[in-house]
Amino acid sequence: MTAAADSPPRKRPFWTIERRDAAAGYVFIAPQLIGIVTFVLIPLGLVFWYSLHEWNVLANTFNFVGSANYQMLLNDKALPQVLLSSAIFSAGLVVLNMSLALLLAVLLDQKLKGIVVFRTLFFSPVVVSLVAWTIVWSFLLQNNGGINGMLQMIGVEGPNWLRHPSTAMLSVVVVQVFKNVGLNMILFLAALQGVPKELYEAARVDGAGRFKQFRRITLPLISPTILLTSIITIVGSLQVFAQIAVLTQGGPGMSTTVLVYYLYQQAFQFHFFGYGSTLSILLFVIVAVLTFAQWQLRKRIVFYEN
């Protein structure tokens, strides 16, 4: 027996360099991937699955109803009001938050003594617990609360902030703006400090005033940050829940019942988990469309993007 002639051709080892690299890559992304699959993709699939069912928690029944929940969505008389409230909230929040954040960032983008103290002050609400922040505001906004007390000292009779439809929405928006304006402010501040100073110098030489410099140099150069913050703010505004739950419970009337709160009511208070899931699919579609639209807009508005 001649060993060399009969032995099978030498097997290629299983762990080739490519396979080893690929495996290492998968191991590296595994923690993130497992997290996304477990906490995002599977729940997303389940919500869609639930939305095709009528789920009675108490009776423990789970029946397939096809598109019935989506029909209900189209016929829901309360939904237009809810979407309007959501739109008003989001619009109010984005406009107020972004303009205030930009204003603060411009004011704080100075080389002054102690400026860091102010930056910290304006940023600090971001790190405060959302519910604690909102509960404190709920005391301030009470009819006999702190804000009306201060107004009284200067002889003004303040409204019952949380009990009138218009002031209730305004209150919820302002509480949310003050909570999160610091985050956008810091992002704007970083963007402002990234604008090359020689551009302003050149503009000044060419005779551009302060306002023109801001419009022609600052705004275009920080536009990627404006896009980013506007996406974050709009998506965040559609998810507002704790403020509504603590401050107004959706009232007075339906004036502050935004989509997420309405969804919560349907699913967790009225036990219509199927319809609640349908509403969250609607929310998902709205967020996806808005984000896509903004991403498309970047080509026309945002400077520096290809």
């Binding site: 789920w55 009675n56 928690v57 108490l58 009776a59 423990n60 906004l141 009470q142 009819n143 006999n144 609360g145 019952n160 902030w161 949380l162 009990r163 009138h164 419970q249 959706g250 009232g251 007075p252 009337g253 339906m254 019942t257 009511q265 967790f268 208070q269 009225f270 036990h271 988990f273």
Partner: protein, 423 residues
């Protein structure tokens, strides 16, 4: 150490550990942990429940019971979320307003047969009027452990300081009606303190106003639950009186003012007598407990009920039902009666209630507790209550402003809630 010694000591260790581990497994298999959700975090209540649970342990050493207090405001929401999440408690308190939802759903284990089979339970002693709300097709699905009349607690220190007449004085003069009660509250309210607080109402839980509007003979819907009652003349009259008391006379704190009677500084509050446990022990004030005043429709009483049921789907459902039978047997019902007015006829007498309610005088027990339970109507409830509650709440919000058009708002309430009631 030699190899042999190693082996020996290993064998010895295994000899000790294995039986221990085995007994641990056996013990863990038999151990039953029951969980009951409740909405009271009151220490005295919890101590009493733990005492009853300890008593059950005497005959069931493997059973331990945990009482899980949930916040009252979101109680039912939290409970149903636990159920939806596949983690239901074994037993739960249930509010009268949601009784229909739970009893009709099939979620609860039937109790009648188990109670009847329990030695010494005396099911006949339990008042049928108290169990009506919790019974379906002759089967009891939750035990009404508390049938608590709504009454008025008065702070006589606060009322006398403003020169107004106290409820006791009005009762003595035979003038205890809503006109005079609101007048006393208005005097207190206009002095800068709060006049009358309807506890837990908070301009959200409108069903608590039943403690006032029943005096006008008003009800939110017809007895069969199908027709809206907010536009009935009695309801319009009652709501007009309440609106005037809030916005014209300042007899009741307005929306957005959160006031606790038991902290002092408030003239009167409408609440259930089980709240007597909140009366301050340090810095006590001169308090009184009186029945609800007469309304235009005469004298009346309103009770709130709380039931406790066992979930049918739980693995320990039979043990849970057994514990429920123990918890509500004659002996333990007497313990429960110190905080929760009982459903057992044998306990509904001044003597028993006086010995279990040291806080209340014989007069208060007779006039408020016994009279209230025997004649009271239960707080309004309905199938699908949460959605009906929210819908009415949203429409009623426009009533809580100074210049509201009461009949028009009540019409809008009926417009929005009628389709839900008719369903």
């Amino acid at each position: 150490m030699s190899k042999i010694t190693h082996l020996k000591s290993a064998a010895a260790a295994a000899g000790i550990l294995l039986p221990l581990a085995w007994s641990g497994v056996a013990w863990a298999q038999d151990a039953v942990n029951l969980r009951m959700t409740i909405w009271s975090a009151n220490e005295a209540h919890l101590a009493m429940f733990n005492e009853i649970a300890e008593g059950f342990k005497a005959t069931h050493p493997n059973v331990s019971i945990t009482f899980e207090p949930l916040p009252f405001d979101s109680y039912t929401t939290t409970l149903t979320t636990q159920i939806a999440g596949g983690n239901p408690p074994d037993l739960a308190w249930i509010l009268e307003t949601t009784a229909a939802d739970f009893v009709n759903s099939g979620a609860l284990a039937p109790l009648t047969d188990a109670f009847a089979a329990t030695a010494g339970y005396e099911l006949d002693d339990v008042n049928p009027s108290a169990t009506a709300l919790w019974t379906k097709d002759g089967q009891l699905f939750a035990y009404p452990f508390s049938t608590s009349p709504f009454a008025i607690f008065a702070n006589n220190d606060v009322i006398k300081a403003t020169g107004a007449k106290t409820p006791a004085e009005l009762i003595a003069a035979g003038e205890w009606n809503w006109d005079n009660a609101f007048a006393t509250a208005a005097t207190v309210g206009q002095s800068g303190k709060a006049g009358l607080v309807v506890r837990d109402f908070k301009y959200q839980s409108w069903q608590n106003l039943a403690s006032i509007w029943r005096g006008w003979g008003a009800a939110p819907w017809s007895a069969d639950g199908k027709t809206c009652g907010f536009t009935e003349p009695a309801m319009v009259g009652a709501m007009t009186a309440i609106h005037k008391a809030i916005f014209t006379d300042k007899a009741m704190p307005g929306p957005g003012e959160d006031i606790d009677f038991f902290a002092g500084e408030t003239g009167m509050t409408i609440t259930q007598i089980s709240r007597a446990s909140l009366l301050p022990k340090e810095n006590p004030f001169d308090w009184d407990l009186v029945p609800l005043p007469a309304g235009p429709a005469g004298e009346y009483a309103v009770v709130g009920q709380a039931g406790v049921g066992a979930f049918a789907a739980g693995a320990n459902a039979p043990v849970a039902v057994e514990f429920l039978a123990y918890m509500t047997n004659p002996e333990n019902s007497q313990k429960l009666a110190q905080f929760f007015p009982p459903a057992r006829a044998s306990l509904l007498n001044a003597q028993t209630l006086a010995s279990t309610n040291p806080l209340l005088s014989a007069e208060q027990i007779e006039n408020v507790v016994i009279a209230g339970i025997s004649s009271g109507t239960v707080l309004p409830g309905h199938t699908n209550f949460a959605q009906i509650q929210q819908t009415v709440r949203a429409s009623l919000d426009s009533l809580w402003v100074a210049d509201a058009d009461v009949p028009a708002v009540l019409q809008s309430v009926c417009d929005s809630v009628a389709p839900l009631l008719a369903r």
